[in-house]
Symmetry: C2
Amino acid sequence: MQRYFLDDQQQIKKDDWHHILTVMRMQSGDDIELCTTTGQCYLAKLSLENIPLKYEMIQPLDVVINKGKITLIQGIGKGDKNEFVVKYATQFGVDQIIFIEMKRSISKMDDQTWHKKKDRYEKIALESARLAHRNTVPTIDFLPNIKALNGDFSHAFVAYENDRKAVFLDKIEGIKNGDSIALLIGPEGGIDELEMALLKDKGFISVGLGNRILQTEVACLYGLAIIDGVLERKR
Amino acid sequence: MQRYFLDDQQQIKKDDWHHILTVMRMQSGDDIELCTTTGQCYLAKLSLENIPLKYEMIQPLDVVINKGKITLIQGIGKGDKNEFVVKYATQFGVDQIIFIEMKRSISKMDDQTWHKKKDRYEKIALESARLAHRNTVPTIDFLPNIKALNGDFSHAFVAYENDRKAVFLDKIEGIKNGDSIALLIGPEGGIDELEMALLKDKGFISVGLGNRILQTEVACLYGLAIIDGVLERKR
């Protein structure tokens, strides 16, 4: 069944009208799933006679209980790598993505550029969350450097190719339901040594994500799959 | 350091000459890593005076011991989804990819089309293995339907969205180093019930890959990351 996210006023978003009416060709009386901004989802019946589109709530749906807050801190990549990360990390269950400019980031980001990009990334996250049948949409933020990063997580990890022997699955056995977990992935050029020292000061533990070199845009998926796998088991 | 795969005659492949000479602008005496078709890798010194390019072996490299044979059986996807799977599954450590036409595959494949595609997929796998610093390149095959699938694996799993409670990490705790492990991922439209019955007859165990709906091209990455994570721990 199609799932849509409501806006703050509990209305079907204008952006979704076209999808409902023209792409899906839905009719009044058709059932859909609607999720509120707090992550509660309902079975609902559409009423399409008027604009704005209306609906009638039928019953609440069982939703997956929030298993923890998973934050991906991703070194800014070039080209469409950031879009790739938003799209697929959303499917892999991330709750927050923080793009961060790092010393070896080839693409640079200023506040003005970020303002434009953020809108686009949020749309991608919303659409990906809808298709993945998530009940929440990840938030997306930007930080100008590692110094600006608040290390306030229950567990914080950084993927570091020189630490491949620190098997990620061993390092995360201790995570519990409800913990906040951060995973930092460097940009294409890797993580500078001074940044690494700063991250360790902030409590980040370096981990290996397997014995191969992963491109930056998929390294996060390797890590998120393993975090989700462990949390699924503990649920 | 750059890594290249040698051909059956232990020569640097013609396809790599351009990369070595023009893209990387290497000089005689530069060090590279070379891997044989059997997965042994060496540090070597280039000698570029003549065509074909020559090299001198310096010393064998420690390579990751084969941890098991991981086979991805992937329902044929449309557009460039198959290329996506080859590229990234190679980075996630797959040893064999079998594309399979399934009842709900939107794109169809005949032997003639496959012949053309196979070449392209093998090139993508080779390049991805090189970048990931693997010592082997996955093989790529095609089967016309589930019936043609040989179920001869130590452990065979099929991702099935109706079985989300069968947590993958629990199901694969028993895998051991050296085992042959298969993971089947259906096409966009999912797996037909008759196909599912046939798979179970062949010994496939259905598993859930998290509590969201994953697009077919990344579902394999979720599964491969968890398999690799468990094998890394057992190595």
